[in-house]
């Protein structure tokens, strides 16, 4: 075997080894590099989070108090809401009608508690009543409201509305 042939054989073996290395053994350095960067970013993020020491108080959502709690049943909550409405109207308006609406259906995390209300009061007292209701620390909305002047009491206003409050059904 001549010198050239020996060298050619070595070259061929090297080529075969190289091709096999490229195809099966070569590490994907780009992928590894990206993984290193990703891990470094994740670690930096977690380190920041670790140093921040977020307290439970900081994550507390005060707005949740605006809802009626799910610790009580729907009926108990409705009763509580009715008491609040009666308390707000006390000495200000005459309650003509107060009627619970049907139990709402739905799969949301909250329930709409609706009471149909009709009150007659002085215009100024009407606002006082609403303000008093809002001070109850619960969220009350007025829907489909109608304000009319009653025939027998011209100086007063009659407010027919649906008062809506919200009850948390499941844990948020």
């Amino acid at each position: 075997m001549s010198s050239n042939q020996t060298k050619l054989l070595i070259l061929l073996i090297s080529f075969v080894a190289f091709v096999n290395y490229i195809n099966y053994f070569t590490p994907d350095r780009k992928k590894l590099h990206n993984t290193v960067i990703l891990l470094k970013n994740k670690i930096a993020k977690d380190k920041r989070l670790n140093h921040q020491k977020i307290s439970k108080k900081r994550l507390e959502i005060k707005e949740k108090k605006l809802f009626f709690s799910n610790k009580k049943t729907y009926s108990q909550s409705m009763g509580e809401m009715q008491e609040m409405l009666q308390d707000a109207t006390k000495g200000l308006c005459t309650v003509k009608r107060m009627q619970w609406s049907q139990v709402p259906a739905g799969t949301k995390w909250y329930e709409r508690m609706k009471i149909s209300l009709s009150v007659v009061c002085e215009p100024k007292n009407m606002f006082t009543f609403v303000n008093k209701l809002h001070k109850k620390n619960k969220l009350f909305l007025f829907e489909e409201s109608k304000v009319i002047v009653p025939r027998n009491e011209q100086s007063k206003l009659q407010l027919n509305t649906n008062v809506v409050a919200f009850r948390i059904k499941n844990v948020i």
Partner: protein
Amino acid sequence: MIRYLLKYNLLSIIPTQKLFFLASDVPQGTKLSRELLMLNYEKKSPFKNPYICYYQEKSALYVWFCKTKQFKELLVVPENFIIYKALQELPDGMFLFDGQVQLLLVLQQKRLVAQFVVSDASEVVVAQEEYNCKNVTHLSEKQYQDYFNEGLQKVTLNDLRQFANINLSKEKVQNFVMQKLAYPFVVVLAFYMLVTYAQGYFMQQTINTLTQKYQTLKKQNTKTKEAVRHHNQTVRKLNSFVKHELSNINPLQVLYDLNKIILPTNKAKIIYLDIASNLVNLRIQTKNDDGIKYLQRLNKLAYVKEVIITNTFKRRDGVKVFSYAITLKKGAK
């Protein structure tokens, strides 16, 4: 540049005495090779198996034969070609350089026609008669050296390209690759494999360390992360709640604003107000004909989209009643 080529033994200049010169014509643009010239001009050479170097300039072809068969250098340039480059710009004529050997160059129409090494004046006369040239310029040995240096500066890369002494036969290339490149190539391949594998290995080690570190931190932060995730989820739900439930205007706000618009005039009175979703029906009574004035004021409310007067009539007691339909903007609070 030529000096560097000479310094590093890449260029060889063949002395005039060792050369036999031949000038010829070829059609312009003809592609020539040393093999082709050998085939056509070898019989005109006084040497057996000579080394040929040639220079093609438009339709002129200059061929030099040399007794030496092979040169190691990459570029082989005849000495009198360099002199010719220096004399090219001078008027036509015969140039006789004195020295140990007298060199005679004949230039006609800016072309090198002949080159001789002459021993006595009679040969110059013969040349004069042959080329019909009376103008003979005698130049000293020093001038020869000056022209030689000038010629070296005038030789361009393109000129040198034609004097390249490269013979790329298949066997030669194969031999060269095998002899010179086989082992370095194998070494390069092995080195590449080693480096890339080592790089991958160390990167994997780093990843393992980082993963371990990340897992520890992750474990420490699990509760906080869970709390933050829950917090974000709650905020998202509350935002959705606000968007869905609190988009309609508060009816008491409407009542309050209407009160501000209508009552201060003390001339009008609200007799009916119906607020359902985004539609407000309003009826007022007034003794004056100022329904349009109220329409303009109502239109100025920020949350009002549109106001139209739906009905107007006059009662028997002279009081006028205006009915308005007010459309509120969606999402107004």
